[in-house]
Amino acid sequence: MTDRPLALDIGLAFLVLGVAVWTIAARDTFAAVVGFVAFGLLLTLVWARLAAPDVAPTEAAIGSGVTGGLLLGASTRLHGTQTPAPGEKPGAILRLAAAALCTVVSAGLAAIVLLLPEPAPTLAPQAATNISATGLGNPVTAVLMAYRAIDTLLETVVLLLALVGVWSLAPDRVWGGFPGPRHHADPDGLLPFMAQLLVPVGLLVGIYIFWVGSVAPGGEFQGATILAAMWVLAMMAGLVDAPAVSRRWLRLLLVAGPAVFFAIGLAGFAMAGAFLAYPEAYAKLLIVTIEVPVTLSIATMLALLVAGPPERALR
C-alpha cells in the first residue's frame, strides 16, 4: 500500500467536494438532487476507504438511496416553484458575509482535524475485550445493541415520532387514508416485470444483510432499509398499494420493535440489575429477539416515511 491508494483517496476527496459544490450551485433543483445522489454514492466509497464497512451500506441505503428517492419525488412535485422571487435572492453583501462565515467554520474544523491528539483516543480495545459477553462477532453491532443500546432504542422512537409528524400533516378529508398517489401497473408491463424480478431478490439480500450483521458488517438498519426500498419499489411499480395508515396491523407492526426493545430493557432490571442489561448467558438470544421486530418496524417506518402523508381518503 504505497502511494497509489493515497492518489485514489485524493481523487475521491476532490470528487466528493466537486459534487457537493454542484449540489449547492446548480440552478435547477432536479439537477441538484441528481448531484446529491452522486454525492451519497461517492461517500459510500469513502466509508469503505475509512475501513468502516458497517457505515458504508448505511450511507448507500439511507443517506443516498432512500433520501435520494424522497428528494427526487419532492423536487418533481415542486417543479415550477423553484425559481426564487426577486425579493428572495440574498444580496451580494449577505452572500459575501455567508461565504466568510462558512470559511471560518471550515477552517476551524480543519484546524481541529490537524490538531487531533496523538496517539488517538479509542474505545476499540474495550469494545474488543467485552465483545464475548454479547455473543456477537461484529463490534459495531455490539455498540448498537449492547453497549449503547439506549441510543438505538431512542432512535427507533425518533423514527416513529417523525412518522407521526408526517401523518399528522394530512388534511382532514384524507385523515387515516392511503399515502401517496396510487401507481397503476404500466400497461406495457416493463416496470412491473422488473419489480417482480427485483423485489424477491432484494428481500432475500435484505434479510441476508440483517442476519450477517451479528458476526460481520451489516445489521438491522442496513437490512431494514433494503426491505423498505423493495416495498416502495413494489408500490411505485403498481404491484401493491400502500396500506391505509389507520390499519390496526400496520400500527402494531410499527410499535412492535420499540415495544419489544423497551420491554426487554425493563426486564434487564430483574435479570441483570440495570435497564437494558442482558444476563451474559442469554445476551445473544435477547439481542436477536430485539433485532427481528426492530428490523421489521424500522423497515415499515422507513417505507412509510418515503410514501409520505395520506393523500387518498378511506372509502
Binding site: 416493463l190 416496470l191 422488473m194 431478490v201 439480500v205
Partner: protein, 97 residues
C-alpha cells in the same frame, strides 16, 4: 497456477476499465440520445461484467462468487429497465411523449 489466475484477473479488469472509458466517451461525444444510450449500455453490461469476471479468478469461495454475479445481474436488470424507459421518451424526433 496463482500467477495465471492473477494474469487473467488483470486482463479482464483492464478490458472492463476500457469499456467504462468507451461508455463515457460515447456519452460525451455521441450526438443523439439513442446512440448515447447505446454507449451507456455497453459500459453497464460489458464494463462491470468484465470487472466481475476478473475478480472471479481470485479465489474467494463459491458464496462470494455468487454474490459478485448477483451484483452484476442486478445492475443489468436495473440498467436495461431504465434504458428502455428512457428510450421510450427520447425518440429521435424529440422529447415529447
Amino acid at each position: 497456477m496463482s500467477l495465471a489466475l492473477d494474469v487473467l484477473t488483470i486482463v479482464a479488469v483492464s478490458a472492463g476499465a476500457f469499456f467504462f472509458l468507451a461508455g463515457t466517451v460515447g456519452l460525451l461525444r455521441f450526438p443523439d440520445a439513442l446512440s448515447r444510450l447505446h454507449a451507456l449500455t455497453k459500459a453497464d453490461n460489458l464494463g462491470l461484467g468484465l470487472v466481475v469476471l476478473g475478480l472471479l479468478f481470485q479465489p474467494e469461495g463459491l458464496f462470494a462468487g455468487l454474490k459478485l454475479i448477483t451484483v452484476w445481474l442486478l445492475t443489468l436488470l436495473a440498467g436495461a429497465t431504465v434504458t428502455q424507459l428512457i428510450a421510450r421518451t427520447a425518440r429521435p424526433g424529440g422529447a415529447q411523449e
